[in-house]
Amino acid sequence: MAQDTVAPKIEVLGKAAMVEGQFVKGNYTYESNGTPSTPYIREALPYRPWINNEYAQLGIKATINSYFSIIAEPQVRLWNDTWDWTSLGQDAAPNNPFTQHMTISLADAEGVFTFGNKDALAFTLEAGVFPFKYNQDVKNLGEYLFRTGETPAFIQSSFDYAYATMTGIRLNTEILNSLSLDLLLTQEEQILPINDWSISVLAAYKVPKLLDIGAGIMFDRLIAVDPVNAEKPVSTLSSSLQNTYYTSSGALDTLSWGGTKFMAHASFDPKGLLSDDFSKIFGKEDGKIYTEVAILGLKSFTTYKKAIVDVDTSLVVDSSMNFFSDISQRIPIMIGFNIPTFKALDYLSVEVEYFGWPYSPSLYNYANQLVTLPRPIIPTTPDNQNILYTKGNNLKWSINARKTLWGGFSIVGQIANDHTRHDTYYGPYADPEEVFIDHGSWGWWLKLQYCL
C-alpha cells in the first residue's frame, strides 16, 4: 500500500428533491388524553393530509488512494406534520402542528476500504453511516431484514426510500462478480431502545441479466446496551400495557426487544432468455419478476396467566398478550413485477405483499417512564371497543414509476397502501400505528429530484 500513487480526488455529491402527495384515505391513532397510561383511540382521518417535503443533500466523496475513500453527505429535510390535529383539540396547539419543520441528518458518512478485484476476489470494509440495499428490485415493499422488528412485528415503509441507513461496520466480499457475502455489525439509531448492537450475515448469487437470489439472517439487538431498563421494561400499568407473562413452566418472564430475523429474495429477468435483438427493445428493468420473504422472529412462545389472579392455580393461555405464539403471523411475503414500458420509463412496477400479523401494526407502546414496550398496542374505537385484532391490514400494494431525464433529473411516483406512518414533530402526539390500515386506504406521492 505504501507504493500507491493514485492522486487524491474530490467528487461532489448532491441532490435536491421536492415531494408532494396526499393521504387520500387513512387512519390516525392517538392517546385519548395525552398520558401514557390511557388507551389509544384509532379513527379514520376526517380530512386528507397533504404531504410536502423538500430535501437537499450536499457532500463529497474523497478518494484518498486506490484503497481508501471517504464519503460525507449531510441532508436537510423540510417537512410538515401529517397527524390529525382535529382529534387533539387545543392541547396540540403549542406544538406547532402547522409550521414547517427542519431535520438534519447524515445520508452518508463513512470511510470505505477496498481491496482486490471484483472479477476475481474483492473485499470492501466500510464504517460509519451508510445506506444499504440488498434487494435492488424492490421499489417500496420488501427489504424486510433491516426495516422490520420482531417484538412487536412491525414493518416500515417510506416513499422512495426502499433501503436502510445503517450505522456500524460492514465487511463485503465479492467473488467472481457473482457471489456476494456481507457481514454487518450495526447499531440501532432509529427505534427505541437505541444503541443496541446487531449482527447480520447476507449472501447473494447472481447470474447477470437472468437471476439474482439471496438470503440473510439478522441477530437483532444481540448485544443490549441497557439490558435491565430498556430491553426488558416492566410495566405495572393497565392491562393494555402489560409486559410480563408466565411461561409454560410457571416462571414469570418479560417480553423483550430483539430476536432473530431471516430473509430470502429472488429476482428473475425473463429477457435473459431472449435473443439480444429482441431483448433490446425492452428497458433494463422491464419484465422482471421478484419476490422476498422474511420471518420476523424465529422463536415462538406462548404467554400464560393464572386462571385466577393472585391465586396459585393452574395456568391458562393469556390470549390478551399471546402475540408471538404463531410464526406464520410473522412472515411477510412480497411479489413484484415490472410492467414493460419499452424504455418510456425507467420502471413501472406493481408490488403486492401479504403479512399475516393480526394485531396492531404499532411501533411503540409507552410504559410508565415513557420507555417503549416490546408489544403491540391494543387501540380502541371512539366508542371504547378494544381492537385486539386489526382486520383489513394483511394485504399491501404499491405501484411505482420512475423516469430519468438527462442523467440527473428524475420524476418518481407512487400510489400505495403500504406501511407509511405519520410524521409528527411532537413525540407524545405521534401515531404509533400505520396510516393505511383498512383495505380502502391509500395515498399518492410525487417527487421531482435532481442528483449529481
Binding site: V12, G14, K15, A16, A17, M18, E20, Q22, P46, Y47, R48, P49, W50, N52, E54, Y55, A56, Q57, L58, V76, L78, N80, W85, T86, G89, Q90, A92, A93, P94, N96, P97, F98, T99, Q100, M102, I104, K403, L405, W406, G407, G408, F409, I411, L446, L448, Y450, L452
Partner: protein
C-alpha cells in the same frame, strides 16, 4: 383535488415530452461551481412596539449567516443549485413585561436570551433550459426558488409574494426584498426584453400550509431606460386541507352575505401588482452618464391590490332574523382602497461612491391591526384582522445603502420604519403584530457580508 391532479399531470407530461425530444443531448461537460456567503448582521429597534404597547428597552439585533452550496451544470439544458443556509439569531420580544405579581420573570425557561439556530434552504432547485435568451429562451425550475421580480426594491415593495389578503398583511425582512418560493416556475425570455413567468407554488411559510397558488407575471424592459411589469396571483387557489382554509371560530370568522346566507372568511384571494422603474440617465450623453453609478437617479414604484374581491359583512339586528344591516364589526374587506399598498423609491446619486443609496416611501391605507394573532384553538391566525388600530401610521419609509468592495465584500445598511415583526423562538411569546406602528418608531440595521 381533481384540479391538482390535472395540473400535476400536465407538468409531468410536458417534462416527459421534452425528455423524449432532448434525451440524446449531453454535449456540455458537467461543471461544479461552489457558492457561499457569510454575514454578520447587527441592529437595534430604537423605538418599537410589543403587544400593543411601547417596549421599555431597545432590543439589540444580532444574526449570523452562513451558506455553502453548489451550482452544477449538467449540460446545455440542465442545472442544479443546492444552497443550504445556517442562521443564528436571538429573540427580540419583550420578556420584561412577563413578570408575575411577585416580580419573577415568567417563561424564562423558553430561553429568550439564548441564541437559536435555524437551517433552511436558500436555494434548492433544478433548472431545465431551452433556447437562448437573445431570441426565445424557456426555463423550467422546480424546488425551492428565490425569486425577485422588482430589481429596484431594496426593502418595501415586492408585494405579490410577501403579502396576504385575509388579513391583508405585508412582510418585510432586512436585506431580503424577495420571496423564497417552493414549487414550479416556467419562465420565457423573449429577445432580452420581454419576460413571462408562470408559477405553481405551495405555501410553506404562513399557515395554513401546503395550499397551492398560481401566479403569472410579465415584465418588459428597454435596457438603460425603462422596466415595467405586472403580475397576478391566485393565492391559495387549491386548498391542501379545505377544513383549515375556512376555519370556524365562534362569531369571529362568520358573517352574513347580502342574501342572508351565513358564510366564513377564508384565506387566499386574488392579488395584482404593477411596477415601473425609470432611469433618466438613459437620456444623457454617455460622457455625462458615465459619472454616475449604475443605480444612481433611478425612480421606481410599485402598487398592488391585496384581494380583488370586496366582501361586505351583514348581520341581523338584535331580535330580528329577517332584515340585514351592515356588520361594522366584521366588515373588514368592503373597501378595496384599504388594501392597496403603494411604494415609491428614488436612488440618490452617489457618483459611484456607493452601489446605491435609496429612499423608499410607502403608503398603505389598511386601518386594521397588522397582527396575525386572532388565534384559533390551534394557535394560528384567523383570516380576519384583530380589530382597528387607530394609532397605526399609514406611512412607511426605508433608507438603504450598499457598498461592495473587491467584488466579494459588502456593507449593507438600513434605517427604516417598515413591516418588520419580532423574532420569537417560542410561539407563546411571539408578537404577531408589526414592530413599527406609530410615526416615531424606527430601527437600524447593518450587515457585513462576504460571498463567493
Amino acid at each position: 383535488m381533481k384540479s391538482r391532479f390535472l395540473v400535476v399531470m400536465i407538468i409531468i407530461g410536458c417534462l416527459l415530452t421534452r425528455g423524449a425530444l432532448f434525451a440524446q443531448d449531453s454535449a456540455v461537460t458537467p461543471k461544479i461551481e461552489w457558492t457561499g456567503m457569510a454575514a454578520l448582521e447587527e441592529g437595534q429597534f430604537v423605538k418599537c412596539d410589543y403587544v400593543n404597547g411601547p417596549m421599555g428597552f431597545r432590543p439589540w439585533l444580532t444574526r449570523e449567516y452562513a451558506r455553502l452550496g453548489i451550482n452544477a451544470t449538467f449540460n446545455r439544458h440542465l442545472r442544479l443549485a443546492i444552497i443550504p443556509q445556517l442562521k443564528f439569531w436571538n429573540d427580540t420580544w419583550d420578556w420584561t413585561i412577563l413578570q408575575d405579581n411577585q416580580g419573577y420573570y415568567k417563561n424564562v425557561q423558553l430561553n429568550p436570551l439564548t441564541q437559536h439556530a435555524s437551517v433552511s434552504l436558500a436555494d434548492a432547485e433544478g433548472i431545465i433550459s431551452f433556447g437562448s435568451s437573445d431570441a426565445i429562451g424557456l426555463n423550467i425550475a422546480a424546488g425551492v426558488i428565490p425569486f425577485k421580480y422588482d430589481e429596484e426594491a431594496r426593502n418595501l415593495g415586492e408585494y405579490l409574494f410577501r403579502t396576504g389578503e385575509h388579513p391583508a398583511y405585508v412582510f418585510n425582512e432586512f436585506d431580503e426584498a424577495y420571496a423564497t418560493l417552493t414549487g414550479l416556475r416556467v419562465n420565457a425570455e423573449l429577445f432580452q426584453n420581454l419576460s413571462l413567468d408562470l408559477f405553481l407554488t405551495t405555501e410553506t411559510q404562513v399557515q395554513p400550509m401546503n395550499d397551492w397558488s398560481l401566479s403569472f407575471l410579465a415584465g418588459y424592459k428597454i435596457p438603460g431606460y425603462l422596466d415595467v411589469g405586472a403580475g397576478i396571483m391566485f393565492d391559495r387557489l387549491f386548498f391542501a386541507v379545505p377544513l383549515l382554509d375556512k376555519p370556524v371560530s365562534g362569531k369571529l370568522n362568520t358573517y352574513h352575505t347580502s342574501s342572508g346566507e351565513l358564510d366564513t372568511f377564508s384565506y387566499g384571494g386574488t392579488k395584482v401588482m404593477a411596477r415601473l422603474a425609470f432611469d433618466p440617465k438613459g437620456f444623457l450623453p454617455s460622457a455625462i452618464a458615465g459619472i454616475f453609478g449604475k443605480e444612481d437617479g433611478k425612480i421606481f414604484g410599485e402598487v398592488a391590490i391585496l384581494g380583488l374581491t370586496n366582501i361586505t359583512a351583514y348581520k341581523h339586528p338584535q331580535g330580528d332574523t329577517i332584515s340585514l344591516v351592515i356588520d361594522t364589526a366584521h366588515n373588514y374587506y368592503s373597501d378595496i382602497s384599504q388594501r392597496i399598498p403603494v411604494m415609491f423609491g428614488f436612488n440618490i446619486p452617489t457618483f459611484k461612491i456607493l452601489d446605491y443609496l435609496s429612499i423608499e416611501l410607502e403608503w398603505y391605507g389598511d386601518p386594521y391591526a397588522a397582527d396575525l394573532s386572532t388565534l384559533e384553538s390551534f394557535q394560528w391566525y384567523l383570516p380576519v384582522p384583530n380589530g382597528l388600530d387607530p394609532a397605526k401610521s399609514f406611512w412607511k419609509y426605508s433608507f438603504n445603502l450598499r457598498k461592495t468592495l473587491w467584488d466579494h465584500f459588502s456593507i449593507i445598511g438600513q434605517i427604516a420604519r417598515d413591516h418588520t415583526r419580532h423574532d420569537a423562538f417560542n410561539v407563546y411569546n411571539s408578537d404577531e403584530d408589526e414592530i413599527f406602528k406609530t410615526q416615531d418608531e424606527w430601527g437600524w440595521w447593518l450587515k457585513l457580508q462576504y460571498n463567493f
